[in-house]
Symmetry: C2
Subunit: 124 residues, 2 copies
DNA sequence: CTAAACTTTGACATCAATGTCAATGTCAAG
DNA sequence: CTTGACATTGACATTGATGTCAAAGTTTAG
C-alpha cells in the first residue's frame, strides 16, 4: 500500500511516517516510481512506533526497542555489554513509567466510576 | 525545604520544578523572603508530575490527572460531562500507552534474559 | 563585614516532534 | 491530453520541554 493508505489505517500523518522512516523506526520498499510501498505488517509496526513515541520514548530509543523486539522474536540475541547495560537502564525506566501510568490510569478509572456517569457508556 | 533540596531529593532540575509550578502541576508556599517552601509530600507529588510528563503526557493533561487523583482520594468527585468525556478518552489513551509499553518492557526483559548477561547483575 | 552558595525572575537558546507549504513528478479518470 | 488526487523532497514555522545565563536579593559560613 502507499503512504496515504497507511496513514489512514494507522491514523498517523504521512509526514510522521516519513519522519519515522528517516529516524529508522520504519522501513519501506520503493515502487518503480519512487513511491513508498508498505505491507500489511507495517500497519502494526508503524502503530507500535507511534505508540512508543507517544509514550515518551525518543525516536532514537524507540528504534532500539523495536529492533530488540524484532531480533528477540527471530534469533538468538547478541549484543554488546554496552547495549545490555543501556537496555537494563531503560528497562527500569520503562518500569517506572508503567508504574506511574498505571497509578494514574487506575485513579482516572476510579474517578470515572465514582462520578457515576452511567449515561456515558458509548464514549470510547 | 527549599527548591534546591527538593531538586536534589527528586533528581528534578530546579528549573523544571519552577516550570511545573507555572503549569499548575506543583504548588508551593512562599517564605517571608520569597523563597519557595515545600513539604515532604511535595517530593512525591513532584516525582509523579515528572513521571507523567516523561510518560508522554503534556503538562496540561498531567495537571488534570494529578488533580483527579487528589480529588479522588479526598472527596466525592464532581465533574462536568465534558471533563468526564475527556477523561474517558484519555483513559483509553492511557490503556494504549500501557499496553504498548508493557509489550516493549517484556521484550526488553526477555532479550536481556536470553542474552544472558549474568555478569550484569548489579546494573539497576 | 565579606564571600560563597542559593533563590528569584526573566530572557534567550536548543532540541525533538510535528505542522505546513512549495515545487515537482505520477497516476487514474474523464 | 488534461485535470485532480496523491507522492516526493526540502525548507521553514511552531510548540513544548528543557538548558543556560544574567541581574539582583538572601542567607550562611568564615
Amino acid at each position: 500500500m502507499k503512504i496515504g493508505e497507511l496513514s489512514q489505517r494507522t491514523g498517523i500523518p504521512a509526514r510522521m511516517l516519513r519522519y519515522y522512516e528517516e529516524q529508522g523506526l520504519l522501513a519501506s520498499e520503493r515502487s518503480a516510481n519512487g513511491y513508498r510501498a508498505y505491507g500489511e505488517a507495517d500497519v502494526e509496526r508503524a502503530t507500535r512506533a507511534r505508540g512508543l513515541v507517544q509514550a515518551g520514548l525518543s525516536t532514537r530509543l524507540a528504534k532500539v526497542v523495536l529492533d530488540v523486539e524484532r531480533q528477540c522474536a527471530m534469533e538468538q540475541p547478541t549484543c554488546s555489554r554496552e547495549l545490555a547495560e543501556m537496555l537494563a537502564t531503560e528497562l527500569t525506566a520503562l518500569d517506572d513509567r508503567l508504574a506511574c501510568l498505571t497509578k494514574s490510569r487506575d485513579a482516572v478509572a476510579r474517578y470515572l466510576d465514582l462520578t457515576r456517569n452511567g449515561d456515558l457508556v458509548g464514549a470510547a
